[in-house]
């Protein structure tokens, strides 16, 4: 399930069948992945690179905020909710306060609608349940292409 700003919770999208139907990434979008789980870091990085995205990985919200504070820019920030040092909600609020011009998407294993909604209210553009899949990335690429 995807939650989005102003979107209904029954967002539907065409299911894609692996890499053959991926959206063209000739825009060379950059992605920051913020997650403290090495398994998720590896999975997300691999998934995103398959779509031709340039990926940087950090293990907590503070590092994500610091990168942006020191001038790094990303088209997309994928942010976990629960991380040490600074969690995803707090990092998202800081990133929004800084005015970062990125699509900020929560990727959480929290499955209660209440918890996802609370995470959304921190300022996310969308919130996905883990794990990231090809159709979720396709959806995000479509959004990035729209915005660019």
């Amino acid at each position: 399930m995807v939650l989005g700003k102003g979107a209904s919770s029954s967002l539907s999208m065409n299911k894609v069948d692996g890499a053959e139907e991926m959206v063209d990434n000739s825009n060379n979008f950059t992605v920051l992945v913020a997650d403290d789980d090495p398994l998720i870091q590896k999975l997300h990085e691999m998934h995103l690179k398959k779509f031709g995205l340039k990926v940087q990985v950090v293990e907590n919200g503070k590092k994500a905020v610091d990168l942006c504070h020191f001038g790094a820019t990303f088209n997309l920030i994928l942010i976990d909710k629960e991380m040490p040092v600074m969690d995803g909600a707090e990092a998202t609020k800081e990133l929004q306060a800084m005015g970062v011009n990125s699509l900020i998407v929560g990727v959480t294993s929290r499955d209660s609608p209440y918890e996802k909604q609370a995470f959304m209210e921190a300022g996310l553009d969308y919130c996905f349940e883990k794990p990231l899949t090809a159709d979720k990335i396709n959806f995000l690429l479509q959004e990035l292409n729209k915005n660019n």
């Binding site: 789980d37 090495p38 398994l39 998720i40 998934h47 883990k130 794990p131």
Partner: protein, 150 residues
């Protein structure tokens, strides 16, 4: 398509992991990420899973030894474990994790203890099956495509 008997055996072994409910669609997502540049990606991810989740298993075991149970902490550990298990498509392990969390929410300590024992069995069984599968995969050599379960 498999070119040799070992390839066919490997495909049968793989299919049985899905048919018997050990793995779900997420495992196929991992296979689709594997390519010539990362020929052992699935095995690497599974190895990482078993390495990282061992810590969580230990945390849960230790938490279950402390009375009274801290159900919030137990639920939190299991939430993390469930997330990792979902990421590799460990279907039965994930199911036991879900059940454990339900027992945490209802404050059922006996249910937690019983479910955790079953979870550890499923976790160990899956590990053995995947180790055997990867060993056979190495012997069989590279396969052209992953076969989706019917």
């Amino acid at each position: 398509m498999e070119r040799n008997p070992m390839g066919r055996q490997l495909a049968i072994m793989r299919q049985s992991l899905f048919d018997q409910g050990y793995l779900d669609e997420q495992f196929i997502q991992l296979e689709e990420l594997q390519d010539d540049a990362n020929p052992n990606f699935v095995e690497e991810v599974v190895t990482l899973y078993y390495r990282d989740s061992a810590r969580l298993i230990l945390n849960i075991e230790q938490a279950l030894e402390r009375k009274p149970f801290d159900f919030n902490k137990l639920d939190d550990y299991m939430h993390q474990f469930k997330g990792s298990s979902s990421s590799i498509g460990a279907k039965k392990v994930k199911a036991e994790s879900t059940l454990f969390r339900e027992y945490c929410k209802s404050g059922n300590g006996e249910g937690c203890t019983r479910t955790f024992q079953q979870l550890k069995k499923e976790y160990a069984t899956l590990r053995k099956k995947l180790e055997a599968y990867f060993q056979m995969a190495r012997q069989a050599g590279p396969m052209e495509t992953a076969c989706r379960p019917k």
